[in-house]
């Protein structure tokens, strides 16, 4: 039998998705179902003077209207799930509906429930909210200033947290031969899954059970948090994530809206459906990034890097989101040295409340930002000492022999060989020739840039002790149950929660190899808290490294038991049995064998089992990884800038990623492409913009540029494979690498092109207008 792991198996989940048979939240219709709409604040900062609901309530078809006051004492505030310690973290209460004070455009003020989706929108329009506007502040630096408007009365200077890690010994920075400084802004962007958020609640008044279908990347976390918020037993509360149109971090968060729908379904004893609209999504769903990053990189003239000092001033929005405190601190700050052997590092983060929608994890969560600053500053350092940026990188790479390597902040990188993808990428672009060509074209007055990003990323969350120690309110181990039916067909349960990544397929590949059965005989169950044991969902590129590992171990346990049964039936000792290609074979006696299916039947019938053995064939494994995993790689971008229009022509994009053992090259490449599109998207096109008054001016797909097909060249992607020692698959994580690498890569290319003017930085996104103005100014045309 050919091995499944490592081959480009076509996806099992596609048949339903390709034929319109997916089951997305809005496809679910329940008898007697009502529709909900959340009325949201149109003011960024205001006291609520009054809310008039009568007209809405009298509107035909309207069933109920709730305001924050109606819910007081009935449904708790939504807590964060990451209490980062040692940073004086201040968490203001976030009520599912604002009670008398709104703090961002999009803050919920009323919930309307009606018989159909059109009526509920009509009725929502009839709710009259009278606001008394307060001064608003949207920029985190301004929010920290004395005299800035305060969002939460008792939180001084709007500072939610001040976190520090590492210390650079005195004298190092001061006496360094070269210190390069720059301030970067990694702008606010929207994760923008194509399916917005959704929730459907159904309550059984007889049994007291509540079911919530919701767009969650981690239904068990939703159940854990919302059972408290709603005051319902976890045992009577089922959360299901149906098919989801992407997440990218935007569906990690436990949101007020989901609590509201659960509450309303229980209160009205009728199913309630809420489907978010796109423009609502952009004001109400968590955004990503929005961090000012000041960097100082110190080293010698020969290119030896000695120390890095980084300060991140992060916009947390109006409230603390689910992962809000962790992204700009732990996720960002611990990785500031990147792939380089820099002995000293100091990271500091200020998290600040502003009158904007909360921010939370977005693809990469802190690591793209961390990669951004180190990959950008290393380029500038190279320019300063007149060294080729590739040479400087290579010189400071953590050496292959140094793994496991402890970085300046104490993180232990599991495995790595950073030269491998670098060399492969250089070969792919024919680096020396490309530089020569660049030189030549520069002489002709053309603006050509070559950008690199030789990143490393922390993912595969992770060791529970460590995440516990840094305040994460979860376990981050993973579980899997492999259930073998009498026929030998298999149902596997796992606590990760895929929503486009294709785990049905990749995890089935693992099981197929382990059990020696066809992939068609395996079905997976994810994303349902009633059938799947406690698990932690899909985020932080943890699914394969942690969930896939649990699947692998649980399969081993099945084989172990099956082997005992086979030995018993064949009347030999277990040691005499060899298991290969789905057959338990007595060594050296051809024909004396049992198939996996034979044993599945025997185990389930239990007519003749070894003494004392429990019947059935089913095993569960709870896998707690000992470390994170650290994928790495090299991305290269080549751009040409049109001086007359400011347009950036992304001519080539090469990625060579090392994500450990690749389970399915096709889906892995798909993940890389998608990640690159989002990272390049941030660098070149995407940006969430608020005006001074806190109104979101990029709140629809007309104003917020999601990249289209024509924006990209043919991406040339490849892999190297350096297995991780942390899990039996050797897998790292592939979901976020593309984004983590590509923001810096694209920016470096553009800044390289503009380096002829002495430019060291520009603010993203690099719109043609911005580039054109810069070029015109530098050419002295203005």
């Amino acid at each position: 039998m050919t091995k499944m792991v490592g081959s480009s198996v076509k996806r099992k989940e596609d048949a339903r998705l390709l034929t319109g048979n997916g089951n997305f939240a809005d496809d679910i219709t329940l008898p007697g179902m009502l529709h909900a709409s959340v009325v949201r604040s149109s003011s960024a900062h205001a006291k609520i003077k009054s809310i008039k609901v009568e007209e809405a309530l009298n509107h035909p078809g309207v069933v109920a209207v709730y305001t924050g006051k109606d819910l007081e004492g009935k449904i708790g505030p939504i807590p964060t799930s990451w209490y980062v310690p040692g940073c004086n973290l201040k968490e203001p209460p976030q009520y599912p509906l604002a009670i008398d004070h709104v703090r961002y455009v999009g803050d919920g003020v009323a919930l309307v429930i009606a018989e159909d989706r059109y009526t509920v929108k009509d009725a929502a329009e009839l709710i009259e909210v009278e606001y008394e506007d307060l001064p608003a502040v949207v920029n985190q630096k301004e929010a920290m200033e004395e005299g800035a408007p305060l969002l939460h009365e008792d939180i001084e200077n709007n500072i939610a947290l001040n976190w520090k890690a590492g210390e650079i010994p005195e004298g190092i920075m001061e006496n360094a031969e070269v210190v390069v400084k720059e301030s970067f802004y990694v702008q606010r962007v929207f994760p923008s899954p194509l399916e917005t958020r959704a929730a459907i609640g159904q309550y059984n008044p007889g049994s007291g059970e509540l079911t919530l279908w919701c767009s969650s990347q981690n239904p068990h976390i939703h159940r854990m948090v919302l059972s408290e918020v709603l005051g319902i037993s976890e045992a009577k509360f089922q959360v299901i994530a149906p098919d989801m149109g992407g997440g990218f971090g935007g569906k990690i968060g436990v949101y007020p809206d989901e609590a509201l729908i659960g509450y309303a379904a229980r209160d009205l004893e009728r199913p309630v459906k809420w489907i978010e609209e796109r423009s609502e999504h952009y004001v109400a769903a968590n955004a990503g990034r929005d961090e000012y990053i000041d960097v100082e990189l110190a080293g010698k003239k020969d290119g030896t890097l000695e120390a890095i000092r980084v300060k991140n001033t992060a916009n947390l929005g109006a409230y603390l989101s689910t992962m809000g405190a962790g992204v700009s601190t732990i996720d960002f700050g611990m990785m500031v040295t990147g792939s380089y052997d820099i002995p000293y590092a100091e990271s500091e983060t200020f998290g600040v409340y502003t009158n904007t929608t909360p921010t939370d994890a977005y693809r990469g969560a802190g690591k793209p930002e961390s990669t951004y600053q180190i990959e950008r500053i290393i380029d500038l350092f190279a320019r300063e000492i007149k060294m080729d940026p590739v040479e400087l990188r290579r010189k400071n790479f953590i050496k292959k022999e140094a793994f496991p390597y402890q970085n300046a902040h104490g993180l232990v990188y599991d495995s790595g060989d950073y030269e491998k993808p670098l060399n492969k990428a250089l070969e792919a672009i024919n680096y020396e020739e490309l530089r020569r060509e660049q030189e030549k074209k520069r002489k002709e007055g053309k603006l050509i840039g070559i950008g690199f990003s030789t990143y490393v990323e922390m993912c595969g969350f992770g060791p529970s002790e460590v995440v516990g120690a840094v305040g994460f309110q979860g376990g981050t181990w993973e579980n899997s149950t492999v259930r073998v039916h009498p026929s030998g067909k298999v149902t596997v349960f796992c606590g990760t929660s895929p929503h486009g990544q294709g785990h049905d397929t990749t995890f089935s590949q693992v099981v197929a190899d382990k059990l020696g059965i066809p992939i068609e005989d395996i079905e997976f169950v994810f994303s349902d808290t009633k059938s799947v044991s406690m698990g932690w969902g899909t985020y932080g590129s943890r699914s394969t490294a942690v969930g896939g590992a649990a699947v692998s171990f649980a399969s081993d346990r099945v084989v172990e038991k099956a082997k005992k049964i086979a030995a018993h039936e064949l009347e030999v000792s277990e040691n005499d049995i060899e298991f290969e290609n789905g057959k338990f074979q007595v060594k050296g006696v051809p024909g004396k064998e049992r198939t996996f299916q034979d044993i599945a039947h025997s185990a389930n019938m239990a007519w003749n089992l070894p003494e004392g053995m429990e019947p059935s064939l089913e095993a569960q494994y709870f896998f707690k990884p000992e470390n994170f995993v650290f994928p790495f790689g090299t991305h290269v971008a080549v751009v040409e800038i049109d001086k007359d229009t400011g347009e950036i022509d992304l001519q080539r994009y090469v990625s060579v990623d090392d994500v450990g053992t690749v389970i399915n090259p096709l889906t892995a490449e798909g993940q890389v492409h998608g990640g690159i599109a989002q990272g390049v998207g941030q660098a070149l096109w995407e940006g969430a913009v608020y005006n001074k008054n806190g109104q979101l001016v990029s709140g629809t797909l007309m104003d917020y540029t999601l990249p289209k097909a024509r924006f990209f060249p043919h991406i040339e992607s490849d892999f190297t494979e350096t297995p991780s020692p942390v899990n039996p698959l050797g897998a790292k994580g592939v979901g976020e690498v593309g984004t983590t690498a590509s923001i810096a890569c694209a920016m470096n290319a553009v800044v390289d092109a503009l380096s002829v003017y002495g430019i060291t930085d520009l603010e993203m996104p690099l719109t043609p207008e911005k580039i054109w103005k810069t070029v015109q100014e530098k050419e002295g045309n203005q």
């Binding site: 149109g245 889906t667 097909a709």
Partner: protein
């Protein structure tokens, strides 16, 4: 405020269908909520994303930009009218083989848009495909495998001579190969 409902009758994927709807009801909601054709999705509220693309009388239409009443007496093809899981349409087969989908939310609209593109230009270059998919957004794939899927479908359709104008666009393709 009661609005008089209007009867809208269409031929959807070759079947006669009819329902009474409010005059303001969007075609996409008529298809999804009244006809139960939930394969067509909604991704935005400003007609940018193309997730709702369907064929109306042979033309690609964003069904969130059209009222159901405007579609009265028309012939509509949605993703459910392409192939079945057992017998995929060449476009679906190619998306499957080339990994042209991840979450699958954009996919029905993208495939319909791509069929529209191939009707106009049966043998497009990579660049023409990228340009031709202007009306759709995919947030997952980075488009590359969508482009290769469309290229493959073009070849396949030319080789097999599938008629892209027929109501039910069943093509060759087997579920497993």
């Amino acid at each position: 405020m009661t609005v008089e409902k209007k009867r809208v009758s269409v031929t959807a994927n070759g079947q006669a269908c009819s329902a009474e709807v409010e005059p303001r009801k969007l075609l996409v909601h008529y298809l999804r909520d009244d006809l139960g054709l939930t394969g067509t999705h909604v991704g935005c509220d400003t007609s940018q994303c193309g997730a709702c693309s369907v064929m109306v009388d042979g033309d690609v239409v964003k069904s969130c930009t059209m009222l159901a009443v405007q579609a009265d007496h028309s012939e509509i093809t949605t993703v459910e009218g392409l192939g079945t899981a057992a017998e995929l349409h060449p476009m679906q087969q190619s998306f499957w083989e080339e990994h042209g989908l991840q979450c699958g939310y954009c996919t029905p609209g993208v495939m319909i848009a791509a069929i529209g593109l191939l009707k106009e230009n049966p043998n497009p270059t990579e660049e023409e495909i990228r340009e031709g998919l202007e009306g759709v957004i995919c947030r997952c794939t980075g488009y590359q495998f969508i482009v290769s899927a469309v290229q493959k479908a073009a070849t396949r359709i030319q080789e097999t001579g599938v008629n892209l104008n027929s109501q039910r666009l069943v093509g060759e393709g087997t579920q497993n190969d």
